[in-house]
């Protein structure tokens, strides 16, 4: 098996046992990037020199017995909205075209401490606002299963890089489905942890009450290993939670006997593609065969999650993105008349259309006279949605459903109608409003050969139940092909 075909855990084991080295692993990935990037454009920045220097250092420390972790020596990719000291961090926006952070995001630092080697920064929708990676200022990323289709978004670069074998695993961020949906479109495993599990320090904020960093990986075991490394309590993030038990790999058990799984009827209504529906329900059957107790139920309020989400996310975005003003970092317009004109012109020239749309909406719903009617109303609906999940988790360990209504759309088909694009987030978005953990993993392919994702949602802090259910399903399903095996 070649390095680019191995899972992250297999590769780390091969490095530990001396079959290969961290340097060879980095070289192999860089060669794969070199060969495939022209076609897929997964990365905004590839740091070949830096990766090789890190790999040499990591290899020496592995040989010295200092680095013994499960991911030591593994080459990883980081979504370009996480700060990396000394390495360009653009958020796929023109406004940060030259931004080189002075510090590194805590989650990335945790990875580096564990001996992972950072290959570069992956493409995304600008400021994580989008579902296709087409709003990037640095070109679209293409889906490795079919280059005429989108990889999903906003963590599309990370998901595509994992699928294409341009990294062993990657970090993404999920505000409304931005890890799970691209994972689903690219046939990879992606997880959004419980809010507060992974530090947001150094993650360029979009919707702070919703944002969470998480893993994208080739299988459930890699996903669990990656989450174990990045989860930490961090004083620098005031919403970070001190969790007791963060060894998520302990949950990699092939057993769901007696596990109660609920399937929301409201996730299988109009708009869901028939092939997606069949694949997801077949996955539920597979878990039932393994001993899970599967029931259908009404979750309720599902259609209110999207309007509540876009109100809250836009409000937070309008506030968070005020910092981009052409003073301390990033793009400044060339000609201007006075301070305010400079702010306005720099921002108008630096931000893309989708980002401006959400800043405008957010400014409006927070403005005096509309704050109660829109913003507070959305926060009240959020409380109701959380309650609906609390009621569901009184009866079930895990909620099972699709990740997205369809498989990956073709490039260029989504952006023309924003509301239609937002509707594609219907199954992922409520999870962020309620702060819940959820995992996406492949459960089949459609007629065109594009991957279909299965979503498992857990109650707060119940990642282990999700990982156990996902791992059990994965064992029942068997190996999922890679695009390299399937696509000529």
């Amino acid at each position: 098996m070649t390095i680019t075909d191995m899972t992250a855990l297999q590769l780390a084991e091969a490095i530990r046992s001396g079959q290969t080295t961290a340097v060879e692993a980095a070289e192999a990935m860089l060669a794969s990037i070199e060969a495939k990037e022209k076609k897929y454009n997964c990365y905004v920045t590839v740091d070949a020199q830096g990766a090789l220097a890190q790999a040499k250092d990591v290899q020496a420390r592995i040989e010295a017995g200092e680095l013994t972790g499960a991911l030591a020596g593994v080459p990883v990719a980081i979504k370009d909205n996480m700060c990396t000291a000394g390495l360009l961090t653009t958020c796929s926006s023109r406004i940060l075209h030259n931004f080189v952070p002075a510090y590194t995001a805590e989650a990335v630092l945790n990875l580096q401490k564990a001996g992972a080697v950072i290959l570069g920064k992956t493409n995304m929708d600008e400021f994580a606002m989008g579902s296709t990676t087409e709003t990037s200022a640095y070109g679209v990323t293409r889906n490795p299963w079919n280059a005429e289709h989108v990889p999903g978004g906003s963590s599309g670069g990370s998901a595509a890089a994992v699928a294409a074998g341009e990294c062993s695993c990657a970090l993404g961020s999920d505000t409304g489905g931005s890890i799970r949906q691209p994972a689903s479109y690219c046939g990879t495993v992606g997880m959004k942890p419980t809010y507060g599990t992974v530090s947001r320090y150094g993650l360029i904020a979009y919707g702070s009450s919703l944002d969470q960093i998480g893993p994208l990986a080739r299988d459930v075991a890699d996903c669990a290993a990656l989450l174990t490394v990045i989860a930490s309590h961090d004083e620098k993030d005031s919403t970070s939670i001190a969790r007791e038990d963060t060894d998520f790999t302990a949950a990699l058990r092939d057993d769901v006997k007696g596990m109660r799984i609920g399937i929301p009827n409201d996730y299988f209504g109009d708009g869901l593609d028939g092939e997606v529906k069949d694949a997801v329900l077949a996955a539920a059957k597979a878990l039932e065969k393994k001993g899970a107790i599967v029931e259908h139920f009404d979750l309720s309020l599902v259609e209110y999650a999207i309007p509540a989400y876009y109100t809250i996310a836009a409000a937070e975005a309008s506030s968070n993105l005020e910092r981009f003003d052409g003073i301390k970092y990033g793009y400044r317009t060339k000609e201007y008349a006075g301070l305010h004109n400079m702010y306005k012109k720099s921002r108008s020239e630096g931000f893309g259309a989708e980002v401006k749309r959400r800043i405008m909406l957010g400014s409006f719903v927070l403005s005096s006279g509309y704050y109660d009617a829109y913003y507070l109303k959305a926060l009240r609906v959020k409380a109701l949605i959380k309650q609906a999940f609390d009621d569901a988790f009184a009866k079930y360990d895990v909620i099972l459903g699709p990740v997205a209504p369809t498989t990956a759309p073709r490039l260029g088909e989504s952006l023309a109608d924003p509301i239609k694009m937002y509707l594609g987030d219907i199954y992922t978005i409520a999870v962020n409003l309620a702060g819940l953990p959820a995992i996406s993993l492949p459960c089949g392919r459609d007629r065109k050969g594009l991957p279909i994702g299965l979503q498992l949602i857990g109650d707060c802090f119940q990642e282990k139940k999700l990982i156990q259910a996902a791992y059990t399903y994965e064992q029942a399903r068997g190996a999922f092909p890679t695009p390299a095996e399937e696509v000529a």
Binding site: S209, Y304, P307, Y310, R332, M360, R380, L384
Partner: protein
Amino acid sequence: MANIISDETIEYVGILAKLELSGEEREQAKSDMGRMLDYIDKLGELDTTGVEPMSHVFPVQNVFREDVVTNGDEREALLANAPEQKDGMFVVPKTFA
């Protein structure tokens, strides 16, 4: 479309958002925002009387720490990102006439 966004409103939102829109962008923004608000108005179907707005899913309190400096001097690295700097300071356009 139930929500008609006036020129005055879009002008006002532009000031709040610190965005300057071209004529074409303005018309697009008016129609986009109107459509989004029509969609968001769906929330009005729900009776939320007596429901407290939930800003945070966990009952978090303010998180305090001792007021001591833990980071080092990063002035050079931070200033290096500034579009314009001088004598260890950010240069901004004249703010007083």
